[in-house]
Symmetry: C2
Protein backbone atom coordinates (compact mmCIF):
# COMPACT_ATOMS: atom_id res chain seq x y z
CA UNK A 1 0.00 0.00 0.00
CA UNK A 2 2.82 2.41 0.88
CA UNK A 3 4.44 1.58 -2.45
CA UNK A 4 1.24 2.35 -4.35
CA UNK A 5 0.85 5.66 -2.53
CA UNK A 6 4.50 6.61 -3.15
CA UNK A 7 4.24 5.94 -6.87
CA UNK A 8 0.95 7.84 -6.98
CA UNK A 9 2.57 10.80 -5.20
CA UNK A 10 5.51 10.94 -7.63
CA UNK A 11 3.22 10.99 -10.65
CA UNK A 12 0.97 13.57 -8.95
CA UNK A 13 3.93 15.93 -8.57
CA UNK A 14 4.71 15.50 -12.27
CA UNK A 15 1.10 16.35 -13.14
CA UNK A 16 1.13 19.36 -10.82
CA UNK A 17 4.33 20.74 -12.36
CA UNK A 18 2.97 20.29 -15.88
CA UNK A 19 -0.35 21.94 -15.10
CA UNK A 20 1.39 24.81 -13.34
CA UNK A 21 3.59 25.40 -16.38
CA UNK A 22 0.50 25.29 -18.59
CA UNK A 23 -1.41 27.68 -16.29
CA UNK A 24 -4.21 25.17 -15.75
CA UNK A 25 -5.86 25.15 -12.32
CA UNK A 26 -7.14 21.66 -11.47
CA UNK A 27 -9.89 21.09 -8.89
CA UNK A 28 -10.40 17.57 -7.52
CA UNK A 29 -14.06 17.28 -6.47
CA UNK A 30 -14.80 14.57 -3.92
CA UNK A 31 -18.07 13.54 -2.26
CA UNK A 32 -20.38 10.66 -1.40
CA UNK A 33 -22.48 9.29 -4.25
CA UNK A 34 -25.34 11.66 -5.02
CA UNK A 35 -24.12 14.70 -3.07
CA UNK A 36 -24.47 16.87 -6.17
CA UNK A 37 -21.03 17.06 -7.85
CA UNK A 38 -22.39 16.82 -11.40
CA UNK A 39 -25.18 19.34 -10.77
CA UNK A 40 -22.62 21.77 -9.32
CA UNK A 41 -20.53 21.31 -12.47
CA UNK A 42 -23.58 21.91 -14.67
CA UNK A 43 -24.34 25.22 -12.94
CA UNK A 44 -20.66 26.22 -13.02
CA UNK A 45 -20.29 25.47 -16.74
CA UNK A 46 -23.44 27.51 -17.48
CA UNK A 47 -22.28 30.48 -15.43
CA UNK A 48 -18.71 30.57 -16.74
CA UNK A 49 -19.42 29.87 -20.42
CA UNK A 50 -17.47 32.35 -22.54
CA UNK A 51 -15.54 33.61 -19.50
CA UNK A 52 -13.38 30.73 -18.29
CA UNK A 53 -12.22 27.87 -20.52
CA UNK A 54 -13.29 24.75 -18.65
CA UNK A 55 -12.35 21.10 -19.11
CA UNK A 56 -13.68 18.12 -17.15
CA UNK A 57 -12.35 14.68 -16.25
CA UNK A 58 -15.24 12.45 -15.21
CA UNK A 59 -14.42 9.48 -12.99
CA UNK A 60 -16.98 6.71 -12.63
CA UNK A 61 -16.91 3.03 -11.67
CA UNK A 62 -19.07 2.25 -14.69
CA UNK A 63 -21.31 4.08 -17.20
CA UNK A 64 -20.61 7.53 -18.65
CA UNK A 65 -23.87 9.08 -17.44
CA UNK A 66 -22.21 12.08 -15.78
CA UNK A 67 -20.09 12.81 -18.86
CA UNK A 68 -23.27 12.65 -20.96
CA UNK A 69 -24.92 15.20 -18.68
CA UNK A 70 -22.10 17.68 -19.34
CA UNK A 71 -21.91 17.27 -23.11
CA UNK A 72 -24.41 20.06 -23.75
CA UNK A 73 -21.87 22.65 -22.57
CA UNK A 74 -19.63 21.88 -25.50
CA UNK A 75 -16.49 21.63 -23.37
CA UNK A 76 -13.70 19.07 -23.57
CA UNK A 77 -14.57 16.06 -21.38
CA UNK A 78 -12.60 12.87 -20.80
CA UNK A 79 -14.39 10.03 -19.02
CA UNK A 80 -12.35 7.60 -16.94
CA UNK A 81 -14.14 4.35 -16.22
CA UNK A 82 -12.41 2.75 -13.23
CA UNK A 83 -14.17 -0.59 -13.87
CA UNK A 84 -15.09 -1.03 -10.25
CA UNK A 85 -12.12 0.88 -8.83
CA UNK A 86 -13.11 3.11 -5.93
CA UNK A 87 -11.02 6.22 -6.72
CA UNK A 88 -8.99 7.94 -9.44
CA UNK A 89 -5.19 8.01 -9.24
CA UNK A 90 -2.55 10.29 -10.70
CA UNK A 91 -1.57 7.81 -13.40
CA UNK A 92 -5.08 7.75 -14.90
CA UNK A 93 -5.18 11.57 -14.70
CA UNK A 94 -1.82 11.80 -16.44
CA UNK A 95 -3.12 9.63 -19.29
CA UNK A 96 -6.39 11.58 -19.50
CA UNK A 97 -4.47 14.84 -19.82
CA UNK A 98 -3.01 13.64 -23.13
CA UNK A 99 -6.49 14.01 -24.62
CA UNK A 100 -6.81 17.70 -23.70
CA UNK A 101 -5.39 20.70 -25.51
CA UNK A 102 -4.15 22.27 -22.28
CA UNK A 103 -3.19 25.53 -23.96
CA UNK A 104 -6.90 26.24 -24.32
CA UNK A 105 -7.96 25.34 -20.77
CA UNK A 106 -7.88 27.59 -17.70
CA UNK A 107 -9.80 25.44 -15.26
CA UNK A 108 -9.89 21.66 -15.18
CA UNK A 109 -12.42 19.95 -12.94
CA UNK A 110 -11.94 16.34 -11.92
CA UNK A 111 -15.17 14.74 -10.74
CA UNK A 112 -13.84 11.87 -8.69
CA UNK A 113 -15.69 8.59 -8.09
CA UNK A 114 -18.54 9.00 -5.57
CA UNK A 115 -16.81 7.90 -2.38
CA UNK A 116 -16.04 9.85 0.77
CA UNK A 117 -13.07 7.69 1.77
CA UNK A 118 -10.63 6.31 -0.83
CA UNK A 119 -10.32 9.32 -3.20
CA UNK A 120 -9.04 11.53 -0.37
CA UNK A 121 -5.94 9.31 -0.03
CA UNK A 122 -4.79 9.79 -3.64
CA UNK A 123 -3.19 13.08 -4.69
CA UNK A 124 -4.02 13.61 -8.38
CA UNK A 125 -1.75 16.63 -8.83
CA UNK A 126 -4.69 18.96 -8.25
CA UNK A 127 -4.35 22.61 -7.21
CA UNK A 128 -6.79 21.85 -4.41
CA UNK A 129 -9.48 19.42 -3.30
CA UNK A 130 -13.10 20.52 -3.12
CA UNK A 131 -15.43 18.55 -0.84
CA UNK A 132 -19.15 18.41 -1.50
CA UNK A 133 -21.50 17.18 1.21
CA UNK A 134 -25.27 17.43 1.21
CA UNK A 135 -27.47 18.32 4.16
CA UNK A 136 -29.48 15.14 3.64
CA UNK A 137 -26.41 13.03 4.50
CA UNK A 138 -26.52 14.36 8.07
CA UNK A 139 -24.41 16.84 10.01
CA UNK A 140 -22.04 14.16 11.33
CA UNK A 141 -20.21 13.45 8.06
CA UNK A 142 -17.08 15.60 8.64
CA UNK A 143 -16.54 14.01 12.06
CA UNK A 144 -17.13 10.49 10.74
CA UNK A 145 -15.07 10.89 7.54
CA UNK A 146 -12.45 13.49 8.51
CA UNK A 147 -9.73 12.67 5.94
CA UNK A 148 -11.30 14.55 3.06
CA UNK A 149 -12.42 17.50 5.15
CA UNK A 150 -9.00 17.94 6.75
CA UNK A 151 -7.41 18.25 3.28
CA UNK A 152 -9.98 20.17 1.25
CA UNK A 153 -9.60 23.91 0.66
CA UNK A 154 -13.37 24.36 0.63
CA UNK A 155 -16.54 22.41 1.20
CA UNK A 156 -19.82 22.99 -0.60
CA UNK A 157 -22.62 22.25 1.84
CA UNK A 158 -25.15 21.33 -0.81
CA UNK A 159 -28.93 20.76 -0.82
CA UNK A 160 -29.61 23.54 1.69
CA UNK A 161 -33.11 23.68 0.15
CA UNK A 162 -33.82 20.31 1.80
CA UNK A 163 -32.41 21.31 5.20
CA UNK A 164 -35.81 22.35 6.66
CA UNK A 165 -37.10 18.80 6.11
CA UNK A 166 -34.17 17.10 7.88
CA UNK A 167 -32.68 17.05 11.38
CA UNK A 168 -29.42 18.58 10.07
CA UNK A 169 -27.85 20.92 12.65
CA UNK A 170 -25.75 23.62 11.03
CA UNK A 171 -24.20 24.46 14.43
CA UNK A 172 -23.06 20.89 14.96
CA UNK A 173 -21.72 20.66 11.39
CA UNK A 174 -19.78 23.94 11.68
CA UNK A 175 -18.37 23.02 15.10
CA UNK A 176 -17.06 19.67 13.78
CA UNK A 177 -15.64 21.34 10.64
CA UNK A 178 -13.82 23.97 12.74
CA UNK A 179 -12.26 21.24 14.86
CA UNK A 180 -11.12 19.20 11.84
CA UNK A 181 -9.96 22.04 9.58
CA UNK A 182 -10.14 25.61 10.90
CA UNK A 183 -8.93 27.07 7.56
CA UNK A 184 -11.56 25.47 5.31
CA UNK A 185 -14.09 27.67 3.53
CA UNK A 186 -17.69 26.47 3.89
CA UNK A 187 -20.07 27.54 1.12
CA UNK A 188 -23.76 26.83 1.63
CA UNK A 189 -25.52 26.09 -1.63
CA UNK A 190 -28.35 24.39 -3.43
CA UNK A 191 -26.88 23.57 -6.81
CA UNK A 192 -30.26 22.48 -8.10
CA UNK A 193 -32.00 25.73 -7.07
CA UNK A 194 -29.03 28.03 -7.70
CA UNK A 195 -28.76 29.21 -4.08
CA UNK A 196 -25.21 30.13 -3.04
CA UNK A 197 -23.95 29.83 -6.60
CA UNK A 198 -22.75 33.43 -6.70
CA UNK A 199 -20.71 32.91 -3.52
CA UNK A 200 -19.18 29.76 -5.00
CA UNK A 201 -18.30 31.47 -8.29
CA UNK A 202 -16.73 34.47 -6.55
CA UNK A 203 -14.69 32.21 -4.31
CA UNK A 204 -13.64 30.12 -7.32
CA UNK A 205 -12.67 33.30 -9.20
CA UNK A 206 -10.37 34.30 -6.34
CA UNK A 207 -8.68 30.89 -6.44
CA UNK A 208 -8.05 31.31 -10.18
CA UNK A 209 -6.61 34.81 -9.59
CA UNK A 210 -4.31 33.56 -6.84
CA UNK A 211 -3.23 30.55 -8.88
CA UNK A 212 -2.38 32.75 -11.90
CA UNK A 213 -0.53 35.28 -9.74
CA UNK A 214 1.93 32.83 -8.19
CA UNK B 1 -5.66 -8.05 -4.84
CA UNK B 2 -6.82 -11.51 -5.92
CA UNK B 3 -4.86 -12.95 -3.00
CA UNK B 4 -6.57 -10.61 -0.54
CA UNK B 5 -10.00 -11.50 -1.91
CA UNK B 6 -9.25 -15.24 -1.81
CA UNK B 7 -8.16 -15.09 1.82
CA UNK B 8 -11.21 -12.99 2.64
CA UNK B 9 -13.47 -15.52 0.96
CA UNK B 10 -11.99 -18.47 2.87
CA UNK B 11 -12.50 -16.75 6.21
CA UNK B 12 -16.01 -15.66 5.17
CA UNK B 13 -16.97 -19.29 4.56
CA UNK B 14 -15.65 -20.20 8.03
CA UNK B 15 -17.75 -17.41 9.56
CA UNK B 16 -20.83 -18.49 7.58
CA UNK B 17 -20.48 -22.10 8.71
CA UNK B 18 -20.05 -21.06 12.33
CA UNK B 19 -23.06 -18.72 12.29
CA UNK B 20 -25.19 -21.31 10.56
CA UNK B 21 -24.33 -23.85 13.25
CA UNK B 22 -25.15 -21.27 15.92
CA UNK B 23 -28.44 -20.35 14.21
CA UNK B 24 -27.44 -16.70 13.88
CA UNK B 25 -28.65 -14.85 10.78
CA UNK B 26 -26.18 -12.11 9.79
CA UNK B 27 -27.21 -9.14 7.66
CA UNK B 28 -24.47 -7.03 6.03
CA UNK B 29 -25.90 -3.51 5.58
CA UNK B 30 -24.18 -1.41 2.91
CA UNK B 31 -24.87 2.13 1.69
CA UNK B 32 -23.39 5.52 0.92
CA UNK B 33 -22.55 7.71 3.92
CA UNK B 34 -25.71 9.17 5.40
CA UNK B 35 -28.26 6.98 3.60
CA UNK B 36 -29.84 6.03 6.93
CA UNK B 37 -28.32 2.71 8.03
CA UNK B 38 -28.09 3.66 11.70
CA UNK B 39 -31.60 5.15 11.81
CA UNK B 40 -32.96 1.95 10.23
CA UNK B 41 -31.17 -0.05 12.92
CA UNK B 42 -32.61 2.20 15.64
CA UNK B 43 -36.18 1.66 14.40
CA UNK B 44 -35.56 -2.08 13.99
CA UNK B 45 -34.13 -2.50 17.50
CA UNK B 46 -37.11 -0.63 18.96
CA UNK B 47 -39.64 -2.73 17.06
CA UNK B 48 -38.04 -6.10 17.77
CA UNK B 49 -37.11 -5.55 21.44
CA UNK B 50 -38.20 -8.58 23.44
CA UNK B 51 -39.05 -10.54 20.28
CA UNK B 52 -35.76 -11.10 18.45
CA UNK B 53 -32.36 -11.18 20.13
CA UNK B 54 -30.30 -8.67 18.15
CA UNK B 55 -26.57 -7.99 18.09
CA UNK B 56 -24.76 -5.32 16.08
CA UNK B 57 -21.27 -4.94 14.63
CA UNK B 58 -20.62 -1.28 13.83
CA UNK B 59 -17.97 -0.51 11.21
CA UNK B 60 -16.59 3.02 11.00
CA UNK B 61 -13.43 4.62 9.66
CA UNK B 62 -13.13 6.59 12.89
CA UNK B 63 -15.26 7.56 15.92
CA UNK B 64 -17.84 5.31 17.59
CA UNK B 65 -20.78 7.68 17.08
CA UNK B 66 -23.05 5.08 15.49
CA UNK B 67 -22.33 2.54 18.23
CA UNK B 68 -23.14 5.24 20.79
CA UNK B 69 -26.49 5.87 19.10
CA UNK B 70 -27.45 2.20 19.54
CA UNK B 71 -26.37 1.81 23.18
CA UNK B 72 -29.79 2.80 24.49
CA UNK B 73 -31.27 -0.46 23.20
CA UNK B 74 -29.21 -2.46 25.63
CA UNK B 75 -28.05 -4.95 23.00
CA UNK B 76 -24.57 -6.39 22.47
CA UNK B 77 -22.58 -4.08 20.15
CA UNK B 78 -19.00 -4.42 18.93
CA UNK B 79 -17.48 -1.40 17.19
CA UNK B 80 -14.80 -1.98 14.56
CA UNK B 81 -12.73 1.09 13.81
CA UNK B 82 -11.08 0.54 10.42
CA UNK B 83 -8.70 3.49 10.99
CA UNK B 84 -9.27 4.89 7.54
CA UNK B 85 -10.00 1.55 5.85
CA UNK B 86 -12.90 1.77 3.42
CA UNK B 87 -14.68 -1.52 4.18
CA UNK B 88 -14.95 -4.35 6.68
CA UNK B 89 -13.50 -7.77 5.90
CA UNK B 90 -14.23 -11.28 7.11
CA UNK B 91 -11.15 -11.37 9.36
CA UNK B 92 -12.29 -8.36 11.38
CA UNK B 93 -15.80 -9.88 11.60
CA UNK B 94 -14.34 -13.18 12.80
CA UNK B 95 -12.46 -11.36 15.57
CA UNK B 96 -15.52 -9.29 16.50
CA UNK B 97 -17.61 -12.46 16.85
CA UNK B 98 -15.39 -13.60 19.73
CA UNK B 99 -16.90 -10.78 21.81
CA UNK B 100 -20.49 -11.98 21.35
CA UNK B 101 -22.30 -14.72 23.18
CA UNK B 102 -23.73 -16.19 19.99
CA UNK B 103 -25.98 -18.62 21.82
CA UNK B 104 -28.09 -15.62 22.84
CA UNK B 105 -28.30 -13.92 19.44
CA UNK B 106 -30.79 -14.63 16.63
CA UNK B 107 -30.04 -11.74 14.33
CA UNK B 108 -26.70 -10.04 13.89
CA UNK B 109 -26.56 -6.79 11.93
CA UNK B 110 -23.30 -5.57 10.47
CA UNK B 111 -23.38 -1.87 9.68
CA UNK B 112 -20.59 -1.61 7.14
CA UNK B 113 -18.49 1.52 6.52
CA UNK B 114 -20.44 4.16 4.56
CA UNK B 115 -19.28 3.41 1.03
CA UNK B 116 -21.22 2.22 -1.99
CA UNK B 117 -18.22 0.56 -3.68
CA UNK B 118 -15.58 -1.31 -1.67
CA UNK B 119 -17.76 -3.11 0.92
CA UNK B 120 -19.65 -4.92 -1.83
CA UNK B 121 -16.45 -6.72 -2.89
CA UNK B 122 -15.85 -8.34 0.50
CA UNK B 123 -17.96 -11.26 1.62
CA UNK B 124 -18.18 -11.14 5.43
CA UNK B 125 -19.87 -14.52 5.80
CA UNK B 126 -23.28 -12.81 5.96
CA UNK B 127 -26.56 -14.59 5.27
CA UNK B 128 -27.34 -11.78 2.83
CA UNK B 129 -26.44 -8.21 1.94
CA UNK B 130 -28.96 -5.41 2.45
CA UNK B 131 -28.51 -2.24 0.40
CA UNK B 132 -29.81 1.10 1.64
CA UNK B 133 -30.10 4.01 -0.76
CA UNK B 134 -31.87 7.29 -0.12
CA UNK B 135 -34.06 9.17 -2.58
CA UNK B 136 -31.95 12.30 -2.07
CA UNK B 137 -28.95 10.54 -3.63
CA UNK B 138 -30.74 10.45 -6.98
CA UNK B 139 -32.44 7.70 -8.96
CA UNK B 140 -29.27 6.84 -10.92
CA UNK B 141 -27.34 5.17 -8.10
CA UNK B 142 -28.10 1.49 -8.94
CA UNK B 143 -26.99 2.05 -12.56
CA UNK B 144 -23.86 3.95 -11.54
CA UNK B 145 -22.86 1.60 -8.69
CA UNK B 146 -24.28 -1.77 -9.79
CA UNK B 147 -22.00 -4.12 -7.81
CA UNK B 148 -23.85 -3.82 -4.52
CA UNK B 149 -27.31 -3.87 -6.09
CA UNK B 150 -26.56 -6.96 -8.15
CA UNK B 151 -25.62 -8.87 -4.98
CA UNK B 152 -28.06 -7.60 -2.37
CA UNK B 153 -31.16 -9.61 -1.46
CA UNK B 154 -33.12 -6.42 -0.78
CA UNK B 155 -32.75 -2.68 -1.03
CA UNK B 156 -34.32 -0.18 1.33
CA UNK B 157 -35.21 2.91 -0.68
CA UNK B 158 -35.00 5.31 2.23
CA UNK B 159 -36.03 8.94 2.82
CA UNK B 160 -39.20 8.61 0.75
CA UNK B 161 -40.53 11.53 2.84
CA UNK B 162 -38.06 13.79 0.99
CA UNK B 163 -38.93 12.46 -2.49
CA UNK B 164 -41.50 15.22 -3.24
CA UNK B 165 -38.76 17.84 -2.87
CA UNK B 166 -36.32 16.12 -5.25
CA UNK B 167 -36.23 15.16 -8.93
CA UNK B 168 -36.06 11.45 -8.03
CA UNK B 169 -37.93 9.29 -10.56
CA UNK B 170 -39.23 6.08 -9.04
CA UNK B 171 -39.90 4.70 -12.54
CA UNK B 172 -36.32 5.26 -13.63
CA UNK B 173 -34.98 3.77 -10.36
CA UNK B 174 -37.18 0.66 -10.63
CA UNK B 175 -36.32 0.14 -14.30
CA UNK B 176 -32.58 0.26 -13.57
CA UNK B 177 -32.99 -2.06 -10.56
CA UNK B 178 -34.94 -4.59 -12.63
CA UNK B 179 -32.19 -4.62 -15.26
CA UNK B 180 -29.41 -5.06 -12.68
CA UNK B 181 -31.09 -7.55 -10.37
CA UNK B 182 -34.60 -8.81 -11.23
CA UNK B 183 -34.83 -10.85 -8.02
CA UNK B 184 -34.13 -8.03 -5.56
CA UNK B 185 -36.86 -6.89 -3.16
CA UNK B 186 -37.31 -3.11 -3.06
CA UNK B 187 -38.79 -1.72 0.16
CA UNK B 188 -39.76 1.95 0.19
CA UNK B 189 -39.28 3.51 3.60
CA UNK B 190 -38.63 6.58 5.64
CA UNK B 191 -36.73 5.27 8.64
CA UNK B 192 -36.93 8.64 10.35
CA UNK B 193 -40.74 8.91 9.97
CA UNK B 194 -41.47 5.20 10.31
CA UNK B 195 -43.02 4.83 6.84
CA UNK B 196 -42.55 1.37 5.35
CA UNK B 197 -41.18 0.01 8.60
CA UNK B 198 -43.91 -2.63 8.88
CA UNK B 199 -43.13 -3.93 5.38
CA UNK B 200 -39.43 -4.10 6.25
CA UNK B 201 -40.08 -5.96 9.51
CA UNK B 202 -42.42 -8.48 7.86
CA UNK B 203 -39.90 -9.12 5.08
CA UNK B 204 -37.10 -9.48 7.66
CA UNK B 205 -39.26 -11.90 9.67
CA UNK B 206 -39.69 -14.10 6.60
CA UNK B 207 -35.91 -14.16 6.06
CA UNK B 208 -35.43 -15.31 9.67
CA UNK B 209 -38.06 -18.02 9.24
CA UNK B 210 -36.46 -19.29 6.03
CA UNK B 211 -32.96 -19.17 7.54
CA UNK B 212 -34.11 -21.19 10.57
CA UNK B 213 -35.98 -23.71 8.40
CA UNK B 214 -33.00 -24.69 6.22
Amino acid sequence: MKNILDRNQNKAEEVRTMLKAGKVMMVNIISSPGAGKTTLLERTCEALAGKVRIGVIEGDVTTDRDAQRLKKYNIPIVAINTEGGCHLDSHSISKALEHFDLEHIDLLFVENVGNLICPSQFDLGETFKLAVVSTTEGDDKPAKYPMLFSEARAVILNKTDLMPYTNFSIESFMADMAAINPRITVIRASAIKGDGLQTWLEWLGRQIDEFSAV
